[in-house]
Subunit: 362 residues, 2 copies
């Protein structure tokens, strides 16, 4: 087994560690006991994750002397909104959480984003510990402090940068993940390989079958590599002022595909997979990304069972305009992340017309 030392995210007074392990959930109480300020915890989870892991987490926390108030949030992106947030806040207030208390987010990205924002805003900010139970959350959303909820105008338009106090990722939880969600998470894993880590990309090509078969050792290694890559980016650019934007590789079009299909046809990772193939082709056309490498990206995503083409029924003009409402726009152009070679990124600013043109040519 590879190194098990927690990964350090160094951000001055907001520094924290990411512990990627196997069967670590049952030790959460002893891990957090020396770290947290107070003894009250608000455990936020959803009705899918609760029966699987909440008992183990609560038991360990209570065994370490914490008192735990559990708050359930309905599963699903459509509940990541200000109405549910308010309900969570009311429950936290009823449970008499204090400024020294901590929220623990046990679940996937929706739980992590919402709990993170609840922690950022309850009593003007309390600590949060992320305990991601999906691959997507373990390699991406639990790390880096981006929290938020959706409004009608768009996803994650309301939120905060609020770094977690600790991240505990137990790859054992991936065993209960629906296969489609595991595959969707692999899209983000491939992303790290493409934009930041050529060795990880090669490892994924070599061990694709072992990963899909949920080999724990390889899963832990992969999650660790991704978490370390994300940690490096976050340390260099905590608030998405520059570098961090490379993590949007595949996301600019991906978000538009999700929005235009009303978040019904594709999981986030599936839409990102389509977006990454588009960004790879755009990179070949404009930044000399070898076509053979763009093919490797598409082939790997396909082996992971992910969609790689834009659905024919999506109107290219609508899609271009949907891209344009993305919050990463600068004046009237949209910033795309491209790659020159695997592991090396470039930015590209495109107008709505150029996006539509490129989409029609794809």
């Amino acid at each position: 087994m590879s190194d098990r030392t927690p990964i350090k995210v160094e951000l001055r007074d907001r520094s924290y560690e990411i512990d990627v392990g196997v069967e670590s959930l049952g030790r959460i109480g002893e891990i957090l006991a020396p770290i947290l300020k107070g003894k009250k915890i608000g455990l936020i989870t959803d009705p899918v994750v609760e029966p699987l892991y909440a008992g183990r987490v609560r038991g360990s926390l209570e065994g370490a002397g914490f008192s735990v108030a559990q708050v359930l949030v309905p599963a699903g992106e459509e509940h990541k909104n200000l109405t549910e947030l308010e309900r969570v806040h009311e429950e936290l207030a009823a449970a008499r959480l204090e400024r020294s208390s901590t929220l623990v987010a046990l679940g996937g990205g929706v739980i992590g984003d919402m709990t993170g924002f609840a922690a950022a805003s309850f009593l003007r900010g309390i600590d949060v510990v992320q305990v991601p139970t999906t691959l997507l959350a373990q390699v991406d959303s639990s790390i880096g402090g981006k929290t938020g909820v959706n409004i009608r105008a768009g996803k994650n338009l309301v939120g905060a940068f609020h770094q977690p106090r600790y991240v505990l990722a137990d790859v054992e939880t991936l065993a209960t993940l629906p296969p489609r969600e595991l595959r969707a998470g692999l899209a983000e894993v491939v992303k790290y390989g493409v934009i930041l880590a050529p060795e990880l990309f090669s490892l994924l090509e070599e061990r694709a079958e072992a990963i899909l078969a949920l080999d724990r050792e390889i899963l832990a290694e992969v999650v660790r590599e991704c978490a370390a890559a994300k940690a490096r980016v976050v340390m260099e650019d905590e608030k998405e002022g520059g570098l961090r934007a490379i993590l949007n590789f595949g996301h600019t079009l991906g978000h538009a595909v999700e929005a235009l299909t009303e978040y019904r046809s594709f999981l986030h990772g599936e839409a990102v997979s389509i977006g990454m193939v588009f960004a790879s082709r755009l990179s070949s056309a404009r930044h000399g990304f070898p076509v053979a490498d763009a093919d490797r990206v598409a082939a790997l995503l396909k082996r992971f069972g992910l969609p790689i083409t834009i659905p024919g029924e999506l109107d290219r003009g609508d899609l271009a305009r949907a891209v344009e409402t993305d919050k990463k726009r600068q004046a009237d152009r949209v910033k795309f992340v491209c790659v020159e070679q695997i592991g090396k990124t470039q930015f590209e600013l495109l107008s709505t017309e150029e996006i539509e043109e490129t989409l029609r040519a794809t």
Copy 2:
């Protein structure tokens, strides 16, 4: 006229200036032009303030090259909630505000708190400029970055620390303030004198009539002294880890009085006035605060037309329990700010029983 140089609040990358002046609203565009990042502004105000000052502010901003999207929030504390916040967010998104855009809060404390939190959470944080038009907002809530909204469980339980980019206080706006609101604001003015500034306290005693007559020069001097006092406290303790709690002098009981009367009988400052007299008496009983000075505090508040006694019909037990739900509690005790002498504070931790006992003795 006294010094007009803006007061500096030094908080590293969150530093800003407070400009206290006379008839400065009409120069807001030229003042902000060199400071703000982008050219889009969301101007948040309410239907009471809008007809009085929004035109002047918009005109000046547009004259300086800004484009301004105005969003109205209904006046009144009962609208400082997450439902209104969401509506504001939707309007900001519809107006296509970007990460480089700025919100301008034109109004009293409700507008300032809500706009501050809207700015803290829109796109995970954009800049806010506070333009307070009430005395309370000019001397207190516009400075220091405490933002938030109310939930059923309590006031300001949801929010963020989000320092403004600039504070522009024009004392000319106090001329249109209902007299009762002016007097309520004077409670916070007296507070600064009692906890931090003996000279200010003496000045208030000497010039009480000129202040009530809205003498501009004395008003500007008083607002400036208060803003400078608050700035000093915020610089030492940005996130209310210690010292800043002295600003809660009179507020612990004040909040309970407001809550128990369902925010209908008293303005915030009026409840704080009652709370300050209580805290002064408690200070005499436990911290040697001269009874003669406690009498001066009560007398000055009375000259300003403020209530100084707890309404007889409020049950002391209910009041003690209402104090106990305050968010400044530590375990099962509540922290009260006391004074040893004018300008020198002490903390006192009281249990619910001790609070009730003291209330019955008052």
